[in-house]
Symmetry: C2
Amino acid sequence: MTYTVSIDVMPLKELLDPQGKQVLGGLNNLGMTSVMDVRIGKHISLQIEADSADQARNIAEEASKKLLANPVMEHYEIAVIS
Amino acid sequence: MTYTVSIDVMPLKELLDPQGKQVLGGLNNLGMTSVMDVRIGKHISLQIEADSADQARNIAEEASKKLLANPVMEHYEIAVIS
């Protein structure tokens, strides 16, 4: 069965996020002053062939560790969508 | 009150996603052949000062239209987290 799995890879809280700060400045310049903070990461959607949702999650976990996320600078969250 | 709102900005289905294709090739080269497709977009987390969750969502919608997403190439999904 094919599962859709999403992975959100975000910069660690402890680190600056220059792209997010830039976008925050842009939004404030556009008059959207109620936006207080912006952080920007990656949203990765995978189609995974697996026997169960658990197996699909494990494959996504392995993909995150091997290639998708840099643990020094990023953390990730995995969700099996369907 | 401050709401956390997330926006996922993804390339439209009809369009190629060269970054996703590249990552798919990388995962397959690493032996992860059960991954069938990869698409990569942005995950944006906003802190928004608003009176209600609905108002926070509207502000995120406005931010998406004005700055965060390019409707010609991308679609977006908004979720009010807390």
